[in-house]
């Protein structure tokens, strides 16, 4: 009965247009009241769900993105990118994905990537005649790349959840090829979708124009270098880099470009607060919802059911993927890693799957879950940045889901994609 109330209330509220955060919160509250538990638990989970230091990367990257867009950094970067790959089909889409490869190596957070790159690219794509949906879809799906490329906090969480038998260095290395593979399949998809939609291609502006655009964009390009260099050389941590990005963007726009004045600054700050508040409230309310799922042992029951179905490793992996994708549509990534690793990893290893390989499957799989409704944090970020409804985004996102799931299939059934690179270091 409890799961019925939880999911029933959630679905009902969702359908009548209640904001997603409150669908999650109110459904949790209704279930807790039905069970006779103290209601205070829902609000405690909400508060601690947002009181997580690692989440601060989200407001900072949103803030940096707003400053870059309003302070003209973004326009200059996109002008340069347009000159380099604009002649390709879906040129700005390809730039968006390539930027995620670069950026993913810095942030390790899909939500941060979606806000930073999305905030930069979506408005420009819109201006150049791309549909906003296309921009949002690409931003959302390519942000999963951030989870696969080192450094990824999620890999560390996985390693600890796995009882610490796994080398984090191996896990980091194992994610590289699958991450690049994902980038490749997404770029290919972006090309086909762009071709069908007939998106414009731009002519190559010539080398001297390119040089001028490059010079113009150097302060913006330096941001990537400063963040990457700062993290690699130990000046700041990966999550602190988000703050440095905001400060750097502010300095460049006020001192170098002189485009940032008090009204722009106030507007950027307000916009950052709005987007952050909306996204993090969903994460907080999802913490209540996820707590109830764990309390009601719903993930464990799903697994028990699945184990009874088949003994074939290929089928088991397929089922694990499906169950993870399903759970990932309702819950956020790190709690899911912590809850499902101890349950699924023994099953997977019993069927001969390498634990490092399984970590990559798990993270990619849950990453896709971040982009699927009803609780897709990254999908929400993308929609918020593009200011379109979730419904508009998922109506057109299918080719990209297809590309991601195709990549997941390859990563699942070709262990060497994950294991070959780490093996070189042994």
């Amino acid at each position: 009965m409890e799961p019925f109330i939880l999911f029933g209330t959630f679905t009902f509220l969702l359908l009548i247009g209640t904001p997603v955060a409150f669908c999650l919160g109110a459904a949790s509250l209704a279930t807790v009241l039905y069970m006779g538990l103290p209601p205070v638990i829902v609000f405690q989970r909400l508060n601690s769900g947002v009181s997580v230091f690692a989440l601060m990367a989200i407001p900072f990257f949103i803030f940096a993105g707003e400053l870059m867009v309003r302070g003209d950094i973004a326009r200059r970067l996109v002008a340069l990118a347009g000159a380099v790959v604009g002649h390709l089909r879906g040129g700005l889409g390809q730039v968006n994905i390539s930027a995620s490869v670069l950026f993913g190596g810095i942030s390790g957070s899909a939500a941060a990537d979606a806000t930073a790159i999305g905030g930069l690219m979506i408005p420009q794509m819109k201006k150049k005649g791309y549909s906003v949906e296309y921009g949002v879809n690409i931003t959302v799906m390519s942000s999963i790349i951030a989870l696969m490329l080192p450094p990824s906090h999620n890999m560390i969480i996985y390693s600890i959840s796995a009882g610490g038998r796994l080398s984090i260095a191996d896990l980091f290395t194992a994610g590289i090829l699958p991450g690049l593979l994902l980038a490749t399949t997404l770029m290919t998809t972006a090309w086909f979708v762009a071709k069908r939609a007939g998106y414009p291609t731009e002519s190559f502006p010539g080398w001297s124009a390119l040089g001028g655009l490059l010079l113009n964009a150097i302060p913006g390009l330096l941001l990537i270098g400063i963040i990457f260099g700062g993290v690699r050389s130990g000046v700041f941590t990966a999550s602190e880099s988000s703050c440095i990005a905001a400060v750097y963007a502010l300095l460049v726009t006020t001192l170098a470009y002189r485009t940032m004045h008090w009204p722009e600054f106030v507007a950027a700050t307000k916009a950052a607060v709005r987007t952050t508040a909306m996204v993090l409230l969903v994460i907080g309310c999802a913490a209540s919802f996820g707590w109830l799922l764990a309390f009601l042992k719903i993930p464990a029951e799903l697994v028990a059911f699945m184990k009874g179905v088949s003994e074939n490793p290929l089928i088991i992996l397929l089922m694990i993927n499906i169950v993870l994708l399903f759970l990932g549509t309702f819950m956020d990534m790190s709690p899911l890693i912590v809850i499902t690793t101890p349950i699924f990893l023994p099953v997977a290893t019993a069927f001969g799957v390498d634990p490092v390989h399984f970590g990559v499957i798990l993270v990619l799989n849950l990453g896709i879950g971040l982009c699927t409704p009803p609780v897709g944090t990254v999908l929400f970020v993308g929609c918020a940045v593009g200011k379109i409804s979730v419904w508009d985004a998922i109506r057109t996102i299918w080719p990209f889901y297809g590309a991601a799931i195709f990549t997941l299939g390859l990563v699942t059934y070709i262990p060497a994609l994950s294991l070959w690179l780490p093996s070189l270091f042994h």
């Binding site: 103290p38 205070v40 601690s48 906090h153 390693s159 959840s161 009882g163 990966a238 912590v338 101890p342």
Partner: protein, 302 residues
């Protein structure tokens, strides 16, 4: 028929998790199946600070937690979080198994918890990526990650190091890139976090030997008959030796793995200067008569 929900932040198979499961088995036998225990491991119900609140509300019945989050709530727990307060793990066992341990367990009651038993949390030592720490001078100016706790921060400052609080999940890459030079933990965590891969010097100074505690919600406790309450206490007590055996095995396995990986383990150190540096920490944190009395009683225990 009652099922007690128990929380633990450690993963399945970890000594504390297995000990509470064992306690559940004993309890089920002694009550003819009327009471059983269900362990929610891996922080499924939240981090320790949160589950402590949930235990107070009676949403969670049993909770295995570290002493740290209780320090600002139950004053007596501070005493076991003091650096070098115990002479070694055996000394800690003798203290906690005796009247002092009993007093600390009782101190939980006015705050809405029933203290049931103490488990081992191992002994914490320093590790870093720069050089073998052999004396207190080696620590000077080193950036060392500590848990967000006033005692631990003050301890690091007193040792001359730069105490750097940081979320646990960021420690690995921060040591790797040099944001910090090292951290401190016990053998199993040093191994399972993978920190030994990036911080190759481990100095066994054992500055902290902090036991962990198994508490029950007062709300849940009051629902049980006096006989059942006694059965719960007995089962919890009986789980302690099981936990200690499991802990030792786990510690040994971790140590072997770390040593095999080529980590330089420094055992020859003079702890005296380290302990002497702690005077200021004790002065600042052992303020009440209650704490002063506990410290002197611990010191007086053989």
């Amino acid at each position: 028929e009652v099922t007690l929900k128990s929380s633990d932040t450690h993963p399945d198979g970890y000594p504390t998790v297995e000990a509470v499961k064992h306690m559940g088995k004993l309890l089920q036998e002694s009550t003819d199946g009327r009471i059983c225990v269900e362990v929610f491991h891996s922080a499924q119900l939240g981090q320790e600070k949160d589950t402590i609140e949930q235990t107070k509300f009676g949403v969670i019945d049993l909770n295995r937690v570290s002493m740290g989050p209780f320090n600002n709530l139950v004053e007596e727990t501070k005493v076991v979080s003091l650096p070098y307060v115990f002479k070694g793990v055996d000394h800690m066992h003798r203290v906690m198994d005796g009247p002092i341990g009993e007093d600390i367990l009782k101190a939980f009651e006015p705050h809405g918890y029933v203290g049931l038993a103490f488990y081992d949390g191992g002994s914490r030592s320093f590790y870093n990526r720069v050089k073998p720490i052999k004396s207190i001078e080696d620590l000077d100016g080193m950036k060392v990650r500590v848990m967000q706790s006033d005692i631990f921060v003050d301890m690091m400052s007193a040792l001359g190091a730069n105490a750097t609080p940081m979320p646990y999940g960021e420690v690995y890459s921060s040591i790797q890139t040099g944001v910090i030079d090292g951290a401190e933990n016990n053998w199993p965590s040093y191994e399972s976090s993978g920190h030994y891969e990036v911080a190759g010097y481990y100095t066994l100074d054992e500055h902290l030997i902090v036991p962990e505690v198994l508490v029950m919600s007062k709300v849940s406790w009051d629902k049980l008959s006096p006989e059942d309450q006694e059965a719960v206490r007995q089962a919890a007590r009986a789980s302690v030796p099981v936990m200690r055996d499991l802990w030792q095995a786990r510690e040994k396995a971790s140590e072997e793995k770390v040593r095999a990986a080529g980590v330089e383990v420094i055992t020859e150190i003079d702890k005296e200067p380290f302990m002497a540096a702690m005077d200021s920490v004790y002065e600042k944190h052992v303020t009440s008569d209650k704490l002063k009395d506990l410290v002197s009683r611990i010191r007086a225990t053989d």
